[in-house]
């Protein structure tokens, strides 16, 4: 099992077991869990706790790693709370290869920087996009829709038409 020295808190949420770790220890914690049989990273994502008053949160961004042991069918959720602008955490793509794209996705949508990632570029949004859409302070409907009646040149037919 994961060394008790790495665990900050542990608990069960609606039947799912979880542990919280210090963000600095993410690589060693996930590596030791992998050695213990949690060989599959089911998913990796981030939750933005901006103005969530239902509980007190150690930091604004929560990184979530869901691990599974395919032999015993156990699942464990590992959480790490990070703050900062941009928030930073170590990449785990060398421990779990599927994390490569999921870290890119999390970077793209939340702006979390994964130290040591080989190709940390946008994956879902266009390369020149400004902002990180899944942050809670990113406005919904912020994109301007262009209509042709607002553009004189678009209404003028080409000369040979």
């Amino acid at each position: 099992m994961i060394a008790e020295t790495l665990v900050v808190e542990r608990g069960v949420s609606a039947g799912d077991a979880w542990v919280t770790i210090e963000p600095a220890n993410v690589k060693s914690a996930l590596q030791s869990l992998k050695n213990d049989g949690f060989r599959l990273l089911v998913f990796l994502t981030c939750v933005d706790h901006l103005v969530d008053t239902s509980r007190t949160w150690p930091a604004r961004y929560e990184l979530v790693y869901e691990l599974r042991n395919m032999e015993t069918k156990e699942q464990l959720r590992v959480r790490a709370f990070v703050d900062g602008d941009p928030p930073r955490i170590d990449s785990v793509h060398d421990i779990f290869p599927p994390a490569n794209w999921e870290e890119r996705e999390t970077y793209d949508l939340f702006g979390v920087v994964f130290n040591g990632h080989p190709d940390l570029t946008r994956i879902l949004m266009p390369d020149d996009w400004v902002g990180h859409p899944l942050r809670r302070d990113y406005p919904v409907g912020g994109e301007v829709v262009e209509f042709s009646e607002e553009h004189e040149t678009w209404q003028t037919p080409p000369p040979d038409a």
Partner: protein, 407 residues
Amino acid sequence: MSTTAQGVTITKTGEQGAFGGELLTVNFGPHHPSTHGVLRLIVDLDGEQVRSVKPVIGYLHTGIEKQMEALRWQQGVVVTDRHDYLSPPINNLAYALAVEKLMGVEVPPRAQALRVIMSELTRLSSHLVWMGTSGLELGAMSMLMYCFRERDTILDMNEEISGFRMHTSYIRPGGVMADATPRFFEMLDDFTHTMPGHIDEYENLLTMNPIWRSRTIGIGRLSPEDAKVLGASGPMIRGSGIAWDLRKSMPYSGYENYDFEVAVSDDCDCYGRYLVRIKEMREAVKILRQALDRLPDGPVNVDDRKMLPPPREELETSMEAVIHHFKLFTEGYSVPPGDVYVAVESGRGENGCYVVSDGTHKPRRVHFRSASFVNLQALERMALNHMVADLIAIIGTADTVLGDVDR
């Protein structure tokens, strides 16, 4: 130097390949018809051999996870329909199970059986689309006609049970939309009798077809170790000889009560994945038959007025029912704070839903773990050192749905 043809751009890199020629970088897609949507690949070619594949995705990104945060719990179902657009009821099921787990409710047995019926029908229709389009790409053109014939029957059943042919929104937190009609059961009964014959028909067309076999056997090998390390799921991991099926391994919605086998193939190639899907279709018909024969009676929704609207008749006689109705459709219900992950087996693999609630009437965060997104990362491993024409077969049998990849 670069030349452009329909959807393909070719650039000479100037690097020397192993066969005396130069390495070519070919841009493949995103509007290439064989990419099942809008997948773009940047392929390095040495002669005709693939030296590297770099998928570029995001062309179908619709911000589904962001939309979920702006919708109330019961409204979110409509959005879940649309990420993996070939298996809407299975997406609904993952979301509904997650919300129910967080609220601590369990749906009645009849609703569970109806959910299983819809899931299996969807699995069949998803595999039929896969087989039709993959056959079309690899030279078996008639497959598309045969497969879409049966798929249409399934869409007719969707229409009968929910009013919609594709995006059914039939499975909802707390149960299902409504009980199925007698006509639906007649259609389903008919279907379970005719479908095995149709599957034989597909097998006659493909299983021993020399063109199909030479295009798929030994192509796109994915060893069991690689499949595990890369996190592949669904027919991708079962086609590599690992019997991992969430319906058996971690049963949900009463799947433990049905008698079916997990389809596995040790071939580890495109042909193996084809065999897995054929077997899975046969098993799906078996499950449908059992579900229909043992369908329990009773309600199809949880009896909770705080979660689901009261029946129409009650609204005319009970003030309390009117209040509940008003509250549900103006504010919705709230879910206790917490987070939960639920995974179900879709036609493509593990389709999961991670839900975080902050105790309000809208989700704080909904994340979809999509099988296509993870499986697509195995593409380079499968395609390396194959001919460029085999890339079509490999993309085909990976069966990624681009709406599911990009969400």
